[in-house]
Symmetry: C2
Subunit: 219 residues, 2 copies
């Protein structure tokens, strides 16, 4: 595990809201591990593109995957990527609209990915992504065939260049507004929860929902 603090480069140095910057790598891991999908940005024909996609983390590596034909993954190893994972925890109501905010945890990773070609490395990346999205599923479901593996591009992005911002807690208002009577201020928390599992209508036979689904940690 790297013990380097976060924000080692110019572009991963947080400029706005420095008080929200977190420099502990464990915070980076914690945000990445708590998210479900990431937002992947790249440059195409000089313009930015950002799309949601699945991912997973193993140590200092973030894995991404996609169809080998997908725009985002045809870009290859020399393409700069930026990945953001954001968890929204609540809306912050202030006394002035200027100070409305959100409570959130956000991680940004910059870098050029490695495009994995080795079969075992690709399978490892896909296992990490699958276990991130649906823990316990790699060994429950059928693993990729040779053809499926060939259709799937797997990228590995080093977590060396990353930044984390976290906002938590109460509204911060101007002193002259705090004394105003009758204006409510506070936080409206946003909760996430799993609903009841919905079995596929075409299950071969009645199948109990497996424990890796029923006991899945809350999102």
């Amino acid at each position: 595990m790297t013990t380097e603090p976060l924000s080692p480069t110019d572009r991963s140095t947080i400029r706005r809201g420095k008080n929200r910057a977190v420099t502990d790598r464990r915070a980076l891991y914690s945000v990445l591990d708590a998210g479900l999908v990431c937002h992947l940005a790249f440059v195409a024909d000089g313009a930015p593109v950002v799309l949601p996609t699945g991912y997973g983390r193993d140590g200092e590596t973030l894995y991404l995957h996609g169809s080998t034909g997908a725009l985002s993954l045809r870009l290859g190893a020399e393409t700069e990527l930026c990945v953001n994972v954001t968890l929204l925890d609540g809306v912050v109501y202030a006394r002035s609209v200027f100070h409305f905010s959100v409570n959130y945890r956000s991680a940004v990773v910059h870098g050029k990915p490695k495009v994995l070609t080795d079969r075992d490395a690709k399978l490892h990346g896909l296992r990490v992504i699958t276990e991130h999205l649906a823990p316990g599923s790699w060994d429950h479901a059928r693993q990729p065939s040779k053809v499926e593996l060939a259709k799937t591009a797997v990228l590995a992005l080093d977590l060396g260049e990353a930044a984390v911002k976290i906002r938590d807690g109460d509204p911060v208002d101007e002193p002259e507004d705090v004394t105003t009577e009758g204006v409510w201020a506070g936080v409206l928390p946003l909760r996430r929860a799993w609903g009841a599992p919905v079995p596929a209508p075409d299950l071969a036979s009645p199948t109990d929902v497996p424990s890796h689904v029923t006991t899945r940690e809350k999102p």
Copy 2:
């Protein structure tokens, strides 16, 4: 209201998962209105950057705001932006890891923003953004002072170039996998809900949580 179908340009034409593309502009509005924060991507020094930020929609315009000093908003009117709003609705468990997926609603908008300078136009944009994040708050809280308004950059992005993808429903497996016994497949829905409002500890006097907070539509 524009009645042009979505995906009118090359880069806003969906290439992968065309069966998930939605070409009704009402779907675009519905996704943008349901989201809470967006992911804003731009190009800085040739590399992509993606950050979460607040937004709001009024008709065919998406409003974004930030500190006038913020990197993302110092870029100005000639900068290409890409905005993504994604709502994650569930994890799709399939019989094969290749077909694991998520149910989601995702909107992508491309374009060069207008940087608003007119006071009334800026105030309108900020009202739209505030009412999106916290409906009912513009008239409840103190509105921006001249100084606060000067510190705030407001961008207007036309929704002309946009795309929507939606995945809903059951897993889609290979025919040879559907007959497999003992492998569960289905959807684990992801729910969002507001928690109980947490009043700021420094309210000037005990203040009832206002109805625009207590009766806020579910997220």
